[in-house]
């Protein structure tokens, strides 16, 4: 069997005295969409941010256990954090383009690495924008400010920006919660298209969304991974009472 793309071993995390993740063990499958669901404050976003070490930015964070990306422990003291973050891209809840042009936003990742020349960078920008289904809308105004785009376009720009690094994994932290239904639908379709080339992890508050697009679903509650399995099974015959209660709207 092909080894998992991401695997955690007894991952525990504290913010100060507060334990947010309690011995999470999960295996994320390659080139599939895994949805992480659960009520607010259950630790699903925190878990997501463990996979590209974004929790490092929060002071007083302590982590125990392992997070293996391609069987390499990214919390190893000698791990190269910036290199990990180019392999594991991230899109945030609120579209957050830089106050720069559309082109410069997408080119940012490859520019700071400085590995591509000018025409290669242009090709990469075009390809990423095409992959994020934004090219036709912006090809005539690449040098306008990214803020001239609509919210949905901005979010696709952020996806294009992450794709430009050619990541193996894309982490989506509630990517559609700030968008209108139409933009949301486009991003969902885009995820289904993209899973042929990247492994996608999506945190969502929207249970229906998880049902529509994910192959695997993880239900988290109070820092614990309660249930994890194929979405079709988790959604139809949940093994745990808490999962069932959440899915049927008893709490959330």
């Amino acid at each position: 069997m092909v080894k998992a793309q991401i695997r955690t071993e007894d991952l525990k995390l504290w913010f100060g005295e507060n334990q947010v993740l309690k011995a999470v063990n999960i295996e994320i499958h390659r080139k599939l969409i895994t949805a992480m669901i659960g009520p607010s404050g259950c630790g699903k976003s925190t878990l997501l941010r463990c996979f590209n070490r974004m929790n490092d930015l929060i002071p007083e964070t302590r982590i125990k256990g392992k997070v293996m990306v391609d069987e390499e422990n990214i919390y190893h003291p000698k791990a190269n954090v910036t290199e990990i973050r180019t392999r594991v891209g991230m899109v945030f809840q609120k579209p957050n383009p830089f106050p720069k042009s559309i082109f410069k936003n997408v080119a940012y990742g490859v520019t700071i690495q400085g590995k591509l020349n000018k025409s290669e960078t242009q090709d990469r920008v075009e390809k990423s924008l095409r992959d994020a289904w934004l090219w036709d809308e912006v090809k005539d105004r690449l040098h306008e400010s990214a803020f001239s785009l609509s919210g949905g376009q901005q979010q696709r720009l952020c996806i294009a920006r992450a794709l430009a690094n050619n990541p193996e994994v894309l982490l989506l932290d509630e990517p559609t919660s700030a968008l209108d239904p139409q933009s949301t639908a486009r991003i969902e379709e885009l995820c289904l298209e993209l899973k042929s080339r990247v492994t996608i992890l999506i945190v969502t508050h929207n249970i229906a969304q998880a049902g529509r697009i994910s192959d695997y679903a993880a239900f988290m509650y109070l820092g614990e991974l309660v249930e994890f399995g194929e979405t079709s099974k988790v959604f139809t015959v949940p093994q745990d009472k808490r999962t069932e209660a959440y899915l049927t709207g008893v709490f959330g």
């Binding site: 974004m54 891209g89 957050n96 106050p99 700071i112 400010s145």
Partner: protein
């Protein structure tokens, strides 16, 4: 009329009164300077040297001197101030060193400018043997401008949304790249507004340059950093306190004051215009 209405009218009345007092003082002040100064104003006044023991001629050397003092001091203070602000904002965990730096900056901001003058004389003129010179004055003014620039820059950096930093780091940028490519460019317009206000302050100061750079009278324009210079504020001070022919000197002093005031107002106007442009463009 009920008591509530009465207090209301009274309150509004007091507010309008204080407003009027401020405006009246400002208008009287500007009109007075203008009235007393405009008679000497001419192209010749702006572009020629003083003559006949300061009783005639123009103020060109003083304008040039003020220009160089201001330009040099800002050129020194701006990079230093921006880098300090970056340190305080991005790396400044609250340990004793950072706390000390902060206290130092806030204390510097509150020190009377004559103390800067004495400090500049003691350190730059005497200790470092730079003598009374353009460079001594510029260094002294740079220290004066430093807290203004640091505070403006730190505030500007603080206003950059944290999402930009997160986005940059999540794309594999290092902290240094994030600062240079995202934080500073985003904050730069506001940093520059702060710098322009510092220019306004520096251009008008008399006390810091009195013992460090300014000379009462020279017909020669500064050719090197070690030359003494004339400067507008000090020129006004000298015209009003020294010399023997006050009937001829006082109008020149008012003319110089008018030029200095217009200069300072013009600089403020630039600052306001830049800020206006930023606010128009900013969309986050």
């Amino acid at each position: 009329m009920s008591k509530r209405k009465l207090t209301n009218h009274l309150g509004i009345g007091i507010i309008i009164l204080t407003f009027l007092i401020t405006v009246v003082f400002l208008i009287v002040f500007i009109l007075r300077i203008f009235y007393k100064g405009y008679s000497v104003l001419s192209w010749e006044f702006l572009f020629s040297s003083p003559k006949e023991a300061m009783t005639a001629g123009g103020i060109y050397p003083a304008i040039v001197g003020t220009f160089w003092l201001t330009a040099l001091s800002i050129a020194l203070a701006l990079p230093m101030g921006i880098m300090t602000a970056i340190y305080l904002k991005c790396f400044g965990r609250p340990w004793w060193f950072v706390k000390t730096v902060r206290i130092a900056i806030n204390t510097l901001a509150g020190i009377p400018s004559i103390i800067y003058g004495l400090f500049g004389m003691a350190v730059f003129v005497n200790l470092l043997k730079l003598d009374v010179s353009l460079i001594s004055g510029a260094l002294t003014l740079a220290i004066l401008a430093l807290p203004v620039i640091i505070n403006a820059s730190e505030e500007a950096l603080r206003q950059v949304p944290n999402e930009f930093r997160e986005a940059s780091l999540a794309l594999g940028a290092t902290e240094r790249q994030t600062i240079l490519k995202v934080l500073v460019p985003t904050a730069l317009p506001n940093i520059l507004t702060g710098a322009i206000l510092a220019i306004g302050r520096v251009a008008g100061e008399t006390a810091p340059i009195m013992f460090t750079a300014a000379t009462f009278y020279t017909r020669i324009l500064p050719k090197s950093l070690s030359d003494e210079v004339m400067a507008l504020p000090y020129h006004i001070y000298a015209l009003m306190t020294e010399g023997t022919n006050s009937a001829k000197q006082v109008p020149i002093a008012y003319g110089s004051a008018l030029v200095l005031m217009i200069l300072a107002l013009a600089i403020s106007a630039i600052a306001i215009y830049i800020r206006f442009q930023i606010r128009k463009k900013r969309k986050w």
